[in-house]
Symmetry: C2
Subunit: 210 residues, 2 copies
Amino acid sequence: MQIAIPLYDRFTALDAVGPYDVLGRLPGADLAFVAVEPGPVRTEQRTLALIADKALSEVPRPDIVMVPGGFGTRDLFDDEAILGWLREAHEHSKWTTSVCTGSLLLAAAGILDGVEAATHWLARDELAALGAIPVPERVVQRGKIVTAAGVSSGIDMALHLVALEAGEMAAQAIQLGIEYDSHPPFDAGSPEKAPTEVVEFMRTVGVENA
Amino acid sequence: MQIAIPLYDRFTALDAVGPYDVLGRLPGADLAFVAVEPGPVRTEQRTLALIADKALSEVPRPDIVMVPGGFGTRDLFDDEAILGWLREAHEHSKWTTSVCTGSLLLAAAGILDGVEAATHWLARDELAALGAIPVPERVVQRGKIVTAAGVSSGIDMALHLVALEAGEMAAQAIQLGIEYDSHPPFDAGSPEKAPTEVVEFMRTVGVENA
């Protein structure tokens, strides 16, 4: 089971690493971080770089494609190096997946034309403008395309994928392995649940976090 | 607010990156990944490297120390390069924190002698053997020491820290920014909730995931 996570300048670290630490524990996983050129790729906050071990061209047809989001997605809407790779990979993939604004790249590649998909709650209009149909859910599966909402939802999406690929017990074992029994100090993780002033604050200043 | 996340060979990626994507959004955060020597540091699964931008010696007295866990902790129980740095950092820190088996390193450094602390559920005996008092909770704060349980609990711990440092609204804004409204497909994230056969499976084969 070959899994590829493409990185690009100014991706969101947790979008990539949440699913990594779930899918990487899938029995038989052959997982690689990939980029146009192998080497370090910086996150949007610039304070961390992950190393892409392989070039996109070395992993043209992974079984699972997992596209993280990040500010940097907006620089790639005409970037054939990544969009062409996504189209080719999607044509042959078993699962084509994204987290957060990673779905904007799938849409820019033409993969989500008229398809229902999730994205960061602040990016739903952008996703619609690229031809997809935004759905305000945490994990959306339509055929072999599985998209997740903002950042942390990639963990949920990856557990969903593990259940599909290896069964419920494998997914539960991985969930227990990463002790994913969320108890945040507040219940503010979605625009429906967060206090109105927090939602408005994020609408004003937080769009760069999407 | 200087924040240091020390890396070492065979750390768990999500232990480090969950808190990174929360604490890094703290207003005024000056966050750096550090290691004995700057450069790439591999995760326990070997399929990913994060770059430590600075040497431990360049960041001797961060305001917040955040120690991730991982298989590799067990190779460091006599490693003065990291344990001495932890002791010095803890002496001057505002907050000394860990995720998962990161608390084993704090304990090995003598920082948790007789102190209640969290760790991965499979590592509680190891933590006790190092002189700490394991507590089966997701986030444990004792004075300026804040420890978290397994892997994903670092996200909860970091939100708790942000609330302490910058207030509830800041923590809620960051929680909303990363859409942390967990909805995993199963309710198996703790040994109390997971099916018995999954817990037993993890006890048998999963100790290397701790």
